[in-house]
Assembly symmetry: C2
Homo-oligomer: 544 residues x 2
């Protein structure tokens, strides 16, 4: 009863098998892709050998450099410890790392029903025991109390051999990534023994900005959904939550200075994020090495702002008469800038990240064009009939406000396209699907930093394994100098909320976003779909 | 950051509002679509009036005839009763109805947090109180202990006026449908009062067979997912679970006679349906007036059968040599028919429904063509090189077996297309997307009963509100006489399992399948998308 497509096996079959498919005896030492580009790409035959035969078959995203041997070590859940290693600049005083130790212990051993039968002896096959994972953070300023940022060092080095494994990282953020990788190496065999292969891993991200966009305006997302998503992000080494928190449809952010914005602009009194909620999201993210960048998009996409803030939006006219409808933020009033000054002062203080996303996309000029006072203002300023100039005028003032609070900012590509005067450190997010490579060329040629979102709009769904499409994107495939390429700092998988709420967020986003996660973390030459399919199947099973 | 599509509001917004949007004061009597075709279709202006102003704004599927007034009645959760009415042929001895009373009481009042504050007085606005819903089942053989079947009478008549509402039905199945409708009429206002408008409803299904296909072979579905789906089906007045229980990928049905089929053919020992599981599904469905029609598809789609039943499948050849691969069921061996006789004896006894779905789709002839013994058999029988004749030969024998157990059968359209000799009472399910109207003409012209699935393959997903596409299908839009039209007994929404498992089943199927539910239940002239959108939004909210 089905077309040819019907016979394709689902991505998710692996999950139903319950256990990772790892054979009991491994004999070969294998080297994997992700080796430096100077090494030859492995031949297909080598992959045949590796198929289903090595524990890194469930690593995701694939580390940059990886070496494993067939030599297995056993872990006894009752004895195994995650500890601070000798010489580490961090100790029990680092709550972030202590919390991560507990979390990863639970991921590795907590799911096992067998553990509940009490203290079990090790398997009888005589493998040597791995007693500890010692975590050594080397920098004198390792970042335990601070927030992750764009320049955070996420590199780590992991050596797994008996009697103890060593995880070394410069900063605590690298230690978090290494803990995730270590937990992915540990597996449970059919007899309930926990095993890990002798391994050595040297790893670091390819791109510094690896984001997930969640949209809490089109549909409200309960706090639990957001936190669950942060867990999934950590499993995939994402490090930025781009929180598209408000939009035309609703204003769930509860402002301290302007509580009427959510009182009147949220879907209901319950569908808001209180200051405590926001703090919880930020702290939960920080503990996982994830930045929270809020987006307060203006001057368009602001219908919900108008409900709780009088005179903020532009009244639209039909001839001489106001229609009763409102357009974008009114850019000609001082009161607008007074409001924004105060509002962004709050935002700058509530959100610790060095960046705020200021939106600036899809500004519809029709309402501005209809308004006699706006037209008069255009004349006075000598803008003629070029409303992009008015938009730039507005944006420029917002950028100045936000700059004054020592924040950097990200804008959608139209702000660049419309030739707003941007400070050199502006980050431009490229979202339009058509010719995004050309846009990346233009943005970086002009010297701006760029983030790529265009090919990764995950709200656009279709039948079948579309993760392959996302996986096959090569972000640096655009025309430009080496210097330009360096200006592309990463990308984002965007899950817009028109058709997403708590009922379908997780299965719609994961593991599809995992494809983007590997693209942004792993080496450029990690592109084999068949190998990725196998690892992603196991990875999904583990995430579930 | 989005195309024009981006501005579309999601179908699901309603859910976030938490409460049904029903204003407190209603004054007009309204008549709704669903009236007999002889009545004039209401004018758009009338709909403007009705928009957001009548309680039946959340009825789904829309009853055939409906009249409500603005007169409101109050229900006191602590006092209101669902009871057997005077003259009913059913009483407390009917567990099915008692169970339904409890269930619908819970749906109407159980969710209310306010109820937990104890026995509350009625609202102070002085509405008259509705004390009871009296259910009167009139037939002397109302079906309480039996199973629903194709000819079950699901019609009911509901009168809501103080002091008691009366629900009359010929059979218990109609009472179940009426209880669902009554529960949809009751709403809670902003002050926690439960209200219902005076109403009169006369309702019956347009089509007798209204099915949902679930596929538990491509992905195993835990029992809980299947039961949850049966609840959702009852909310939408579906009455057939087409259980596509096994296929190439896995054989989760645990057979009593042939336990090796699932021992070796299921994804794992855990991923099976035991006899108890199957019984639970059938009984849970029966209590909701839902038939369970199992599909055991042969001779194709049977790879998983081969694992636990030696010599059942045809060995494929390359030249003179067996390749080690297997094709469809081997139609030339007596052992095949011995197996099928015993197997379908079990199936006929385990599943009480009068029908079994025998599949018969997508038989690939390549393997049969390669096998020397099959070729020899073709020669002996005088089939020439027409393998459709061999397929028909096989199907004919299976039909005879199943007939001998007094079961009817449903087959996919190829069995008809390939000109198998079918008994006149065969039901043909039309699934191929191209020219399905033409296929309906052919099938019914040949005098066979038909079920339509083709336009309702809900596993094919796409961006946006595709429920409108499913909703806009008119099943009787095919060329044929009145007699032919009567042979189309209904349709099915199919959710094939390649990309569906417990993580996404519910949000992927509902409320998209609700569109099919209304198409199969309500009057042909209920086609207004705007009205449907409004009701469906509220219906989704209630289902959640």
């Amino acid at each position: 009863r089905r077309s040819g497509m019907g016979r394709a096996m689902g991505l998710a079959v692996g999950l139903l098998l319950g256990l990772l498919l790892v054979p009991a005896v491994l004999v070969s030492t294998s080297f994997r892709r992700g080796a430096p580009p100077s090494e030859p790409t492995p031949e297909p035959a080598e992959w045949e050998l590796a198929w289903g035969a090595v524990p890194e078959d469930s690593l995701w995203p694939l580390p940059q450099r990886l070496r494993t041997s067939g030599r297995q070590l056993q872990l006894a859940p009752g004895r195994f410890q995650l500890v601070h290693g000798a010489g580490s600049s961090l100790g029990p005083g680092c709550g972030l790392l202590e919390d991560a130790f507990r979390r990863y212990y639970e991921y590795m051993f907590g799911q096992s029903r067998r553990r509940q039968r009490g203290h079990r002896p090790l398997g009888v096959r005589g493998e040597p025991e791995l007693w500890q994972l010692q975590v050594v953070v080397e920098s004198p300023d390792p970042g335990c109390q601070s927030y992750p940022h764009l320049a955070s060092n996420e590199a780590y080095h992991l050596t797994v051999t008996d009697p103890v494994a060593i995880l070394k990282a410069d900063e605590v953020w690298g230690a978090l990534r290494g803990l995730e990788t270590f937990s992915q190496l540990v597996y449970e065999d059919d007899y309930g023994s926990f095993l890990v292969n002798e391994s050595e891993i040297d790893d670091f991200p390819r791109f510094a900005h690896r984001g997930i966009l969640l949209d809490t305006s089109r549909h409200y997302l309960p706090l639990k959904s957001i936190l669950t998503n942060l867990d999934a992000m950590a499993f995939n080494k994402f490090n930025v939550l781009h929180w598209h928190i408000v939009d035309d449809q609703s204003f769930p952010y509860q402002s301290i200075y302007f509580p009427e914005l959510s009182d009147k602009g949220a879907y209901s009194y319950d569908h808001i994020y209180t200051p405590t909620d926001v703090y919880l999201v930020i702290e939960y993210a920080r503990l996982r090495g994830i930045r929270v960048i809020p987006e307060f998009d203006t001057p368009g996409h602001t219908q919900s702002w108008g409900k709780g803030q009088k005179d903020l939006l532009t009244p639209c006219y039909s001839g001489e008469q106001p229609t009763g409808s409102f357009g974008p933020v009114n850019p000609i009033l001082n009161t607008t800038y007074n409001f924004m000054t105060k509002f962004f002062k709050e935002i700058s203080s509530v959100f610790p990240d060095a960046y705020i996303h200021l939106g600036g996309d899809e500004v519809n000029f029709d309402c501005w064009k209809s308004n006699p006072e706006v037209k008069e203002f255009m004349k006075e300023r000598g803008f003629g009939i070029d409303y992009a100039k008015l938009e730039s005028y507005y944006i420029q003032k917002i950028l100045d406000i936000v700059s004054s609070y020592n924040k950097g900012y990200i804008v959608w590509q139209e702000v660049f396209d419309n030739k707003a005067q941007l400070k050199p450190d502006t980050v431009v997010e490229v979202w339009m699907g058509k010719n995004y490579a050309h846009e990346l060329s233009s943005v970086t040629e002009a010297g701006f930093t760029a983030i790529l979102a265009a090919p990764w709009y995950l709200d656009y769904i279709s039948y079948g394994q579309d993760w392959k499409k996302y996986y096959s994107v090569e972000p640096l495939n655009f025309t430009g100098s080496e210097k330009q390429k360096k200006l592309l700092i990463g990308g984002e998988a965007c899950l817009w909320g028109e058709f997403v709420d708590a009922t379908n967020l997780t299965p719609r986003l994961w593991p599809r976003a995992s494809a983007v996660g590997e693209r942004l973390w792993s080496n450029r030459n990690v592109t084999d779909l068949r190998d990725a399919y196998k690892r992603l199947t196991n990875h999904r099973c583990r995430m579930l």
